[in-house]
Symmetry: C2
Subunit: 253 residues, 2 copies
């Protein structure tokens, strides 16, 4: 059930030296932002990528969780020394960093008492009061504490567990979007787009994104709004303007 | 010429609703971070992705340029109404937002006087005092003003113009890295890695990154340092530890 025009916002905090160094390409931002909007009507308003440094994590969690309804973190909840996200979140929220009984039991059962070593046990330690986000793929759960949601870094694991978030997060108004692709340079429609944007300014965002494709220059004009009817009428005005200019539009594959 | 152990830092500021909405996957962070380290020894310490909102851009520019040696922005310097990066940077730096004579001449020559419309002219407006970063692919230049470097958003254009940065940015010490890939779960080496990390703590960062490949679980252990010899000795210690445990290592393709 989605409430009408309720704006719910999120920030995504990617924790990991491997992303900052350029070694690993992030694959979570686009997925999480789309998932949050499509499934819960939650709008991602900021993303930060930061290193595995405790005081940096604490500072960013504290800042972002005040600014947005939710903060989703990815990365840093494994068994090794550089996995410091759970402990840092505990410090940011000023709660204890303890074994979560349920997580401990899940992991002990999975690994067997004999193989449940200190690294694996570490994955059961979380901010006190956390609720678990179950992980069907690699078992070690994520968690939610207050408005902070802590997920692992591996894209396929995130995808396997994300549906659990529906149990915890309040939904907002979905942002709808419509796209028009055309073979044209941006400057050909810049002035007219600006006029249409002014008309719809409070309700529809118009974005203009150039691209290259098969040696041709194109533009994707994307309209976004939580108000479906206004979105459609704005979209139609843009199409009308484009037709008037005899610019060719197409469906981008 | 790279000075010994000089730390030069950067932040990357990705400006664009299309990245935040999830519609477009960022392809610049990993490329820019790698390029800066490999070519100039500049370490990317933070990335932020923010919307096309003037006050948000101003605030982030102001914060990041105080915290790091350089801020590189991508996106928002085209001809349309949603391209507000150059004007926002001017406001953040409290300098005028004017036509840059050189940029104006380059663009006017390229488009021809007749076709040099208002949208195209906009691409010649920049913070007063900017130096140009020439763009051989789509002509409209980026710029550098104080410690802020402003680049377009399209990955192929960035790649075509990035070498120009060598004329403007001061180099630092390159961070070297070595990687060991193995078929093992992280928890099997967590304790030992932590001991080695403690030994090298000031000089080498050890990262442990799990991955899935052909149905097997693996770990990449990445060591990073500006000190090449210490890096190699740390790397060797990790290999020795892994061999002792009879874990299979391999070169990842």
């Amino acid at each position: 059930m989605v409430r009408k025009n309720k704006k719910i916002t999120a920030a995504i905090l990617i924790i990991g030296n491997e992303i900052l160094s350029g070694r690993t390409k992030d694959q979570n931002v686009s997925y999480l932002a789309s998932w949050l909007n499509n499934n819960l009507g939650i709008k991602t308003e900021e993303v930060r990528i930061i290193p595995d440094i405790e005081k940096t994590i604490i500072k960013n969690i504290s800042t972002l969780r005040k600014k947005y309804n939710y903060v989703l973190t990815t990365g840093g909840i494994g068994p090794t020394h550089d996995d410091i996200t759970a402990e840092s979140i505990s410090k940011a929220l000023k709660v204890k960093y303890n074994y979560n009984r349920e997580a401990f039991n899940i992991l002990e059962k999975y690994y067997g008492k004999k193989n449940f070593n200190s690294g694996r046990k570490k994955m059961a330690r979380m901010p006190s009061g956390s609720k678990l986000i179950y992980n069907p793929s690699s078992i070690a759960p994520g968690f939610i504490i207050k408005n902070v949601i802590c997920l692992p870094g591996i894209p396929s694991i995130i995808r396997s567990m994300i549906d659990n978030l529906k149990n915890y997060l309040k939904p907002g108004s979905k942002t709808y979007s419509l796209t028009i692709n055309m073979i044209a340079v941006e400057s050909k429609i810049a002035k007219e787009l600006s006029v249409i944007q002014k008309k719809y300014k409070k309700f529809v965002d118009i974005g203009s994104y150039p691209f290259f494709r098969l040696g041709k220059v194109g533009v994707a004009v994307v309209t976004r709004s939580v108000k479906k009817k206004l979105l459609q009428s704005c979209h139609k005005e843009i199409i009308k303007m484009i037709r008037k200019k005899k610019i060719k539009t197409f469906t981008r594959i």
